[in-house]
Symmetry: D2
Subunit: 284 residues, 4 copies
């Protein structure tokens, strides 16, 4: 794998932005591998992702911020710098349904997901064997009625101890507290088993079945304070017919959930997601 | 085109239903061309569509009801009989956006839709040329504030005069009154420019854009008393990205609207739709 | 799970078929759960799948053939009877790529596939751990140059010993001999990593990439004497763009392969596939 | 509509390219609206599309080539400059099937396609009424056996007379001569009614039906000397089942053909297509 740096920027759109960034990178001998920019015409916003090879880059990354500051300030940029070698550290949260977990762990082991997964956290013991198989430590933290705070306290302890920076809720059926969520802004990915904003909340497949929709969906999104309302990362749908009973919806839905969550995780890991105005830009 | 009869049935599921129907048809020398049945396991319902060739059928259709009555009563069937030669008479309602109208009229003229279209009704004069081209009489009935009742009165007069049995709302932007809708139960088809139940009501593309969904949709459905809540006939979606501005959503949406409305109209004309429990079975 | 029987029939289409079958089943007190029939108008063929509950059925299945013979002969039917409790016994063949194997084993363990999998056969040792995890015996039978016959002999021995009736080639990269294939007519399922008939044969993703197609596909099909030419069971596609390099095609392709093969296996197990004229009818 | 310029470039990839182009445009006061670049890692190629507002641009476009030459030469670029106000002049060629023609003319009239359509050419008289309705001159040039050369001579005369720069073959069922094609390199768009490279050549739907595929497709592509082998611009597919007879394939296919051809035409008009290595990059 190449050793690259990725710069994600958004700022008010104005003349000279591309040249300023390109010249800065060139002045430090960067070889740009990919660059993608987008102008949101309605909001007069400029959004960019640029990735370059670090092998000839002559600026130490520790000093990047200081060197880049004049440009960033002049154009009022919000920016962040990532590198391909600093692999994100993900904790996967799961309850009883383990199809997303099994899918993510398989992809991780086969090299499709360039991240560390130091642990799996669950409020049930059921998914332990699959985690064991992939040699990922499994922590069973039950959530008893009235004990959510205590469970979150233990979870946070583990997350800190394992230096986790990102949470993936792979059909984790507990609602996290506002405080907990606030600690990981744009760092908690969830999969909801409907085509949001339709059927937000509980039992979406049952409600889709009752409404008689002709397509069911699944949505991966960032978790925010408001349930099922965070920025959408990916969605997909599958066709159903009157021949499909509720059981069939659940089964087709599982495949959708795996697809949209695994794509979201990959894009997250590759630093392809930029959030603004409660929406995402996916630099593909 | 073949001269066929179509029988649509739904009733409580019980043993012997298929044999009873098949024997009845055979006893009158029917040659079955298509038969499709469906058991809704949750509601213990039996639903069937059967189509047969009328050329050797030795029962006069006028007498069908009387002859079939013993079976229908025994099994407590709700049923209706249709024939391929009795072409439905559709009125298309349109406002300013004429893409669905143009699409339906092209399909009608090219033989894809086996129906009569005795008239187009609009609250605007804009779509007259395309109706003229396809030689369909165009009736401009403006709907002024406070004048909806009067407009509906004139519309009903026209519909009766032209012996219209079905209404197709092809982006007709007026809400029909409860009384009007009640006159055409399961006989008014509408297209809504969202993936229902998401974004029911006004300006769905704007709201989809603001929410940052990754797929937009369109839905064709029967009109009932409650806005955008009738039985769904067909839905489809298209992928969008951050590169798509509102204008692009509108354009991709137009293609979806044409697709889902024209499929609904064709299935309706071919007597493939059976409604129960506010859902549709599409016998394909 | 219900204890049901499934009857699959194809024969020349003629009047009275549905009644004859329905009456036969009713006379033995069958409660029909699903029935689906199809008339191929071009070939004047009748094809049917009917499934009924065995709990009240008063004909011993061992005697079904004798009792059904008069009808079958009169209408010149080709038919077969299956039951839901007689779970098919599948051997999965795999080479190095284990994504389809892992997917099938997960679905099997989670109850999505109602079959027995007595063994996995591979020409490589690589996939053993995943088979071990799911507790499926793994047989490594290397295929050395000039040693294909010997390998097939050992495979056949194993298949007989384990009373295997069906083979699933889950990215098994060896070509089976004509004799081997002839022993399992319509009982070997394969997945080919292209949208057949495009890119049959070797290295389909490479050739798709070179041709610059905008969608890549995968196909599950029955294996026949002619390579990649057997009856197609299922196909699916994924959109690609110029941003996708060969590596991305391979990755998107893996998800397609899992999808089309697992659907084919499920339909096979549920006795939903009927082959005629080198095509399949999927009774859904 | 904005008055913009579009620059399309491809050249060997090397350091400094983005900066060189951005600085050049900035030095002439360009306000970049969109920029998209792509590095083909296998071929070490750099491909770019950049669009800017001309309102403040202080370089006369007539002098662009001279001013840009030093950069273009230094980086060995192949490039072309287009403007949004220079609307391409398209001739649509059609035979008897007029669904693509009707679709394109509707989209043109409704403002979706920013081009001129000075004429429609056909070897049949059938499509004249729809061209008349949209007020596009219709030229009926029959192609009799042995008379293809003469027909092409007359077509070329018309194309020159109307200053046509681009041809759209909207189900034009004649094969153009090698000489004719050579006059319009990357300027003839065709729609083929299959998922290329499957079923190239004649009667693709019939062959798809016979092969028993589960999806049918359509492909828009540039015409080159070799039949159905030019760079693919867009493809799409639709699901079919055993219930679909040949007639249904033809009908579903028509909708696919309209979709893929109209998208290709729009991308062409918006200068979003770049061809290299017999493939297309679509800058979306």
């Amino acid at each position: 794998m190449r050793n690259t740096a990725i710069l994600l920027i958004h700022c008010p759109d104005q003349r000279g932005l591309v040249a300023a960034i390109a010249n800065f990178l060139l002045s430090h001998n960067a070889n740009i591998l990919h660059a993608d920019q987008h102008q949101d015409g309605e909001r007069i916003l400029f959004l960019m992702r640029v990735e370059w090879d670090l092998s000839d880059f002559n600026l130490d990354l520790a000093g990047f911020g200081k060197a880049f500051a004049p440009i960033a300030e002049r154009y009022r940029m919000e920016w962040r710098l990532e590198t391909s070698i600093a692999r994100p550290r993900l904790a996967i949260f799961v309850s009883k349904y383990d199809h997303c977990l099994a899918d993510l762990l398989y992809r991780h082991q086969s090299g499709e997901l360039s991240c560390e997964i130091p642990l799996v956290v669950s409020n049930h013991p059921d998914a332990r064997p699959i985690a064991d198989f992939y040699r990922i430590p499994y922590h069973h933290i039950p959530v008893i009625p009235g004990g959510a705070d205590e469970a979150e306290r233990r979870q946070l302890e583990l997350l800190e101890q394992h230096q986790v920076d990102t949470l993936v809720l792979a059909r984790y059926m507990q609602i996290l507290s506002r405080d907990f969520v606030a600690r990981y802004p744009q760092r908690i990915l969830n999969v909801h088993h409907s085509f949001l904003p339709a059927f937000s909340g509980a039992r979406p497949y049952h409600r889709a079945f009752d409404r008689g929709v002709k397509l069911i969906g699944a949505t991966s999104h960032y978790v925010t304070e408001t349930l099922d309302d965070g920025p959408i990362i990916e969605q997909d749908v599958a066709r159903i017919s009157h021949r499909d009973q509720l059981e069939d919806l659940l089964q087709k839905g599982r495949d959708l959930e795996k697809a949209v969550l695994s794509r979201a995780v990959r894009w997250y890991i590759e630093h392809r997601i930029l959030v603004y105005a409660n929406k995402t830009v996916i630099f593909d």
